[in-house]
């Protein structure tokens, strides 16, 4: 299939991606790539994964026509309900896939980084299910603002390791997880949560998340008899967005819109790597980054912890470069408005991350009234109730 051409053999999506890692990790990444390439078309592996996705995680998720939102905005909106999944977000798709891969590779211990805690919870969940020892790195700032998820991980038997360096958020949790992996690479599997990091991670995570787009395509054809005009998803590292976009890559009539965190809406204090960043190398991959003119990484800011990352997946950088996708920003304030809007109109409380995409519907409806849109509702908002309650106080 044409689709599997990217990334190329060296892990590049055009000029983006690659493997910028200390020498210690070179062979482990090579082993991971080989193990994955062997397993991805293995019938038994896929049967196992699909069975867990169906009976454990609750796939396929519905493609829900949002009638009130559609009427209110004068645009036809379908929500891809990843929020309904077990553990409350799309992260479980990838966690299940990679944990099964780890099992096949004979690893005993799983580590992961987490921002909002959703990937941490998903990883702790699959570790409990498949019998791995599990350590989750989480920035101190995030531990403070996502207390419920920390507790969930602990209940599931994982150890949550607070990260005190740098910005104390996702970026530093990711660095710490990599350092742990460098040290314990023999028996430890690093379960990376987004389409970032060195090759083969952006490819592996995308492949496990592409189930979102594959299902959505079938569902929309069944319900509407045609492909949508727009796909809409929030982008931090970008895994839910790539998961939705990727299977539509060759459907040129379908436009992709990735919504980044505009934060406070100023020059700094945002997490819009694609819209406002420059090309650079962080955590093993070449992509767009928030950095100063000397190549030092800047701190990201978003009200949504899951978007609070100064980099973005290389495949998104490529989509931007070739103009396959358009990337826009939505501020903290607007995201909160989106959060409340969807809750009141449809009775669905979204996570603050996809609430960015929800808000963007308002702008899209103004220039593209009556068009057909699929929005990836990547997670549910229970984890964010404290943040929203404290908002503006």
């Amino acid at each position: 299939m044409k689709r599997s051409i990217l990334p190329d053999k060296s892990g590049y999506f055009g000029e983006f991606g690659g493997r910028f890692i200390p020498e210690t990790l070179f062979n482990p990444l090579k082993e991971l790539e080989e193990a994955y390439n062997l397993l991805k078309n293995d019938i038994e592996f896929n049967r196992q994964l699909n069975s867990y996705l169906k009976d454990y995680a609750a796939r396929p998720t519905p493609l829900y026509f949002a009638p009130n939102m559609s009427r209110y905005l004068n645009i036809k909106v379908y929500l891809k309900r990843e929020d309904i999944l077990h553990t409350g977000a799309h992260k479980i798709n990838n966690a299940l896939g990679q944990a099964l891969l780890a099992k096949h590779m004979g690893k005993k211990r799983i580590i992961a980084e987490t921002g909002a805690g959703q990937h941490g919870v998903a990883t702790a969940t699959v570790s409990a299910l498949l019998g791995f020892k599990c350590d989750i790195y989480m920035g101190e700032t995030d531990i403070e603002r996502q207390k419920m998820n920390v507790f969930r991980m602990q209940i599931l038997g994982a150890r949550v390791i607070p990260v005190k360096s740098g910005s104390k958020t996702l970026k530093d949790a990711c660095s710490e997880a990599i350092r742990d992996w460098v040290t314990n690479v023999k028996d430890t599997y690093y379960l990376l949560g987004s389409v970032v990091g060195p090759h083969p991670y952006p490819m592996i995570v995308r492949d496990f998340q592409a189930v979102i787009g594959r299902e959505a395509k079938k569902q929309i054809l069944k319900k509407e008899g045609r492909l949508p005009d727009y796909l809409l998803a929030c982008v931090g590292g970008g895994s839910n967005a790539i998961g939705l976009f990727h299977p539509f890559f060759y459907d040129r009539e379908v436009k992709f819109i990735g919504v980044e965190a505009g934060g406070l809406g100023k020059k700094d204090n945002h997490a819009a790597s694609l819209s406002k960043g420059d090309i650079g190398v962080l955590h093993g991959t070449k992509s767009f980054l928030l950095q100063d003119k000397f190549g030092q990484i800047k701190l990201a800011h978003s009200v949504a912890p899951g978007l609070d990352y100064p980099g973005v997946g290389p495949e998104h950088a490529y989509y931007k470069k070739i103009k396959r996708a358009n990337y826009v920003t939505v501020t903290d304030r607007e995201a909160i408005e989106g959060f409340k809007l969807l809750s009141k109109l449809e009775g669905i409380i979204p996570a603050l991350e996809p609430a960015h995409a929800v808000y963007y519907l308002k702008r899209l409806a103004k220039r593209a009234a009556n068009s057909l849109v699929i929005l990836c509702l990547s997670g549910r908002g229970d984890k964010d109730l404290d943040i929203v309650r404290e908002w503006g106080k």
Binding site: S10, G18, R19, F20, I21, P22, E23, T24, L25, F26, N27, P28, S165, G166, K171, D172, S175, I178, R179, V182, T183, V185, K186, D278, G280, V281, L282, H283, G284, L289, Q291, D292, K293, F294, G295, Q296, I297
Partner: protein, 261 residues
Amino acid sequence: MGKIEEKFHDLRIKGKKAFIVYVPFGFPNISLSRDIILTLQESGVDLVELGLPFSDPLADGSILQEANQIALQAKATTDKLFPFLQELKEDITVPLILMSYYNPLYRWGLKNFLRRVKYLGIDGVMVVDLPLEESSDYISIARNLDLDTIFFITPTTSLARKKKIMECSRGFVYYISVTGTTGPKNLSLQSIRREISSLRKINQLAICVGFGIHSVSQAREIREISDGIILGSVIVEFIKENFKNRDFLKSLNFLVRRFCV
């Protein structure tokens, strides 16, 4: 013969081993950084490895992470490195190696950066997160400038890669003694010895061992089985704890001499 190669040649003739110390540029601040480097030279260090600070040093343990942050707070960025090297050039006689993560170099423009540091007296470069597979531009630029490229070999490096890395390294090759980050570790002398003798079969390149070395006795043992050792965290930690003391440079000199003997 480059300055680094010449150094190893001289040491070999004298039957000595290289003693290399890593310090981050601008740690604990820019002016003291200069004094520290000159003190290292004075106390018998054979080569100095100067680190360009980076906000996200992936391969470093907590001591060097903190040192990088302190240096960045002291505004030790790329633009300050050039005048610093310019000034240092007059007083430094030992070979100087620049160690960096890739992003600051990429951001400045690799070619421009390498040309400039070469002109300012840097003899060799090591880029921690630039494995061989991503290094073709880097190698060709460095070769044109006659700048030594120092690559890393670790316990996880396969034999086929070891050969390639030894062939692409100039000056010396950096053997990382542990599977892990920088900072004090217990080291297995036996496995280091085994690795080094396998590398010796590949070519004549000098092999220096770094990461984890923190005691005088470890340093002595590893120096015996290699062509030299690289100390980082133990010196940086000492600087952090003592730089405010009046006799700081004297005590640094004393510490380094203990490792030199």
